[in-house]
Symmetry: C2
């Protein structure tokens, strides 16, 4: 596919940029029209690439884009999953370029050319590789499989509508494997295939003290400050050993055998480099586990956001009425989000002192999953990536969550295969998201080869 | 003065409203032009009321308004202090009316008419009473004192420029007492005169973890979350007995005798009513002290604001790079802000774990002060308020801070006298600030009578 890429890459950029320019931020209701625009643009791209059909399918939330090319009903079918929604771009002031005005520019750190935009990697850039690999296979007469595409618009908010839509379209979605590029590799020198992801429970909490903002001079010292109380409650959620204190949190966690842990420990990890990349002097996590284990096989709790009181410029004194936080927990097999979320909510209310009132709102949830590395699809992907990278990829465990893939396993009975081509440097979900051209093209080649090896 | 008020009150409203309409928010640099407009309007009002001169005096920050009426160089001189800057109005969505479009409307809770606007009480409404009492005394031929006015535009940000300006104008500001209406009374049934206020140390802290926002799935569990760390640090600042844990914090605090505490305990306080007014089920504060003591004679620490990570709508997952908080400490005699601020900064840096970096920025500071109740000015004020309210006012200790008054004592050698007519219900510094017309007029009458009784 190398030659095809060389010949068509200017067109590829323009097509991808047309997607990246649409601010399809699923977390913000005001972007509803952008979701439809983005879905519309995807159907055009699928049809131009050679799909028999491509349509916008309404759901309870943002639409799903479905496309297909059926060559032979008896041939194997590959279902490609991706998502066209993106994370909010905030904090905007940290972007060097407009998040929705994509550019190709050299990475200031390495000098390597990359695409810079929100969604450049996650997931518009990665799903686009599949459309182009499909286009190449079809036009070059190499396609032997049926291909189906589903691109959803709610992955970044936990895919609330896709499961119901999949249940209604089980027949349509019949396939042998679900190919997904929405994850990272360990490094560009150590390609990896993700064979497990963490689940997620995401909640928003509100702590209310007095029924109005108070003058902190008149009341300070006599009335509980809800920010102080929230801080105390959050501080108590993780103990000195780095363990989450919610009762029952670890009850279902699968403890890996020493052998399994040894296997995972073979993945390359240089703590000095890791710390230097993050700019931290010390790491912190659950006692008794390595960093790779802490993000791969162990659950954790993170405060994703906190706010309360006066946050503007200057020195306003106030004893505020409310304090808020967004709290996420990454879950591992066999923790069920549907069990952990109420455990957390109950615990958080339980630890609230009498001087405040607490509200807990469930925002998002999904289970983790594991993928067998003995499958034919895994083997084909491994062979493809070995050819492109010159190194056999290692199986890895991803710390992130694509909640809907666990549901897909349950609803459709299809195992996902996670061929992700992102790198740590891409800083997805953060300012200055980008995608190295090198990985963008290596991804396309790997996907095209996968179809060749997957019998 | 009752009849004069009745005759002129419509004009009074319009004059005060012209001040209230100017958003003179000192904490926000973009309001700089509003500060000058407000100062300009004050000079007009002083001259219209009968001042010999009134001028805008530049300082390193917002201008000071100085006005005077010198009747007789040998007569006693009363210096009136007030401030024309206001607190930011946020959160805007909680205001029932526009904070800078003043209206007279009945209090929804009590049906009593009040002026509703940011600054209606603090301090435009209260300083305006002095201008009108002066106008009345002058026009009715009852003025026997020299009167000087200083209105500053930086009280809400800690009066950074006024001390230097006072040092340069010691001669101009010579006076026997400094009359201030910028505080509250215990209740409209229990008038009080404030004979002590707390000092203030105000700092902003920043906790930095990784050098960029991270995907909380990829890194969560292995990298310290700066929000979590900030929460732990804040939680540790107050112990289980409600005491501030900064080493040395209480070293200089003057412990009151049992007799003094008994005297203060005579102020009326109904815990049930207090809790009902605040809408809380339980109070919290330093062990061993009453609510009045906790806000009057004991220092405290409050988080005035906190922010970090994603605070928008929806469920964005992120392990943020930074977390921030604004922290105020109310100080009592003999705690010096200049000593407490560095003690806090040092302690906060000291308790930071190795996985984060901490910055501490000093924002504002000032000392508390005490006023002798044996002075002639106090006695005159007490007699005036007793006549207006029909009850002898009690001496009280205010929990708030007017940092510049301690400096005024030191620089000019003038004791302040705090005749404040605010009430708890006015919710200054909060949404829906208002000032009861009844208190507005009672304040003018009390001030006019004070001049009569002060020999």
């Amino acid at each position: 596919m190398k030659a095809y890429i060389e010949q068509h890459k200017e067109r590829f950029y323009q097509e991808l940029f047309s997607l990246l320019r649409i601010p399809s931020i699923s977390a913000k209701p005001e972007h509803k029209p952008d979701m439809t625009r983005c879905a519309q643009r995807l159907t055009e791209l699928l049809l131009e690439a050679g799909a028999d059909k491509a349509e916008i399918c309404p759901t309870a939330g943002n639409p799903v884009v479905y496309g297909e090319k059926i060559l032979d009903p008896k041939a194997r079918t590959v279902l490609v999953y991706g998502h066209y929604d993106v994370q909010p771009p905030e904090p905007l002031e940290k972007w060097r370029t407009d998040p929705f005005d994509p550019v190709i520019a050299d990475d200031p750190a390495t000098g390597e050319p990359a695409i810079w935009a929100r969604g450049a990697n996650d997931d518009k850039g990665q799903l686009f590789m599949h459309i182009k690999a499909f286009e190449y296979l079809l036009r070059s007469g190499k396609l032997r499989h049926n291909v189906k595409f589903i691109f959803e618009g709610e992955e970044e908010i936990g895919s609330p509508s896709l499961p119901a839509w999949m249940k209604e379209h089980k027949g349509l979605l019949k396939a042998d494997v679900c190919l997904v590029s929405d994850t990272t590799m360990i490094s560009d020198k150590v390609p990896s295939i993700n064979c497990g992801m963490r689940g997620l429970s995401y909640l928003e909490v509100k702590v209310t003290g007095p029924n109005k903002d108070l003058h902190s001079g008149h009341y300070g010292g006599a009335v509980a400050n809800p920010i102080q109380v929230l801080c105390e409650m959050i501080a108590s959620l993780i103990d000195a050993d780095g363990r989450v204190t919610v009762p029952g949190f670890y009850d279902q966690v699968v403890e890996l055998s020493a052998q399994d842990r040894a296997l995972l420990a073979r993945a390359p990890y240089d703590e000095r480099e890791y710390k230097a990349f993050l700019g931290v002097d010390a790491l912190r996590g659950e006692k008794g586990y390595s960093s790779l284990e802490r993000t791969g096989i162990r659950p954790c709790l993170d405060v994703c956001g906190i706010w309360g009181g006066y946050t503007g410029a200057g020195a306003k004194t106030v004893l505020p009425s409310e304090a808020h936080a967004k709290i996420s927990m990454r879950l591992v097999p066999n923790q069920r989000s549907a069990e952990i979320t109420p455990l957390f909510a109950e615990h958080f209310k339980h630890i609230a002192p009498a001087c405040v009132k607490v509200e807990v709102k469930e925002c998002e949830g999904g289970d983790g999953f594991l993928i067998p590395i003995s499958s034919e699809a895994y083997k084909a992907a491994s062979r493809a990536m070995a050819e492109v990278y010159g190194v056999e990829p290692v199986p890895s465990r991803g710390g992130g969550s694509i909640a809907v893939l666990a549901e897909m396993q349950q609803i459709l009975g299809i195992d996902p295969l996670l061929m992700g081509f992102g790198l740590e440097r891409d800083t997805i979900h953060s300012p200055n998201e980008s995608y190295l051209l090198r990985q963008f093209f290596a991804g396309m080649e790997s996907i095209a080869l996968f179809f060749g090896f997957y019998k």
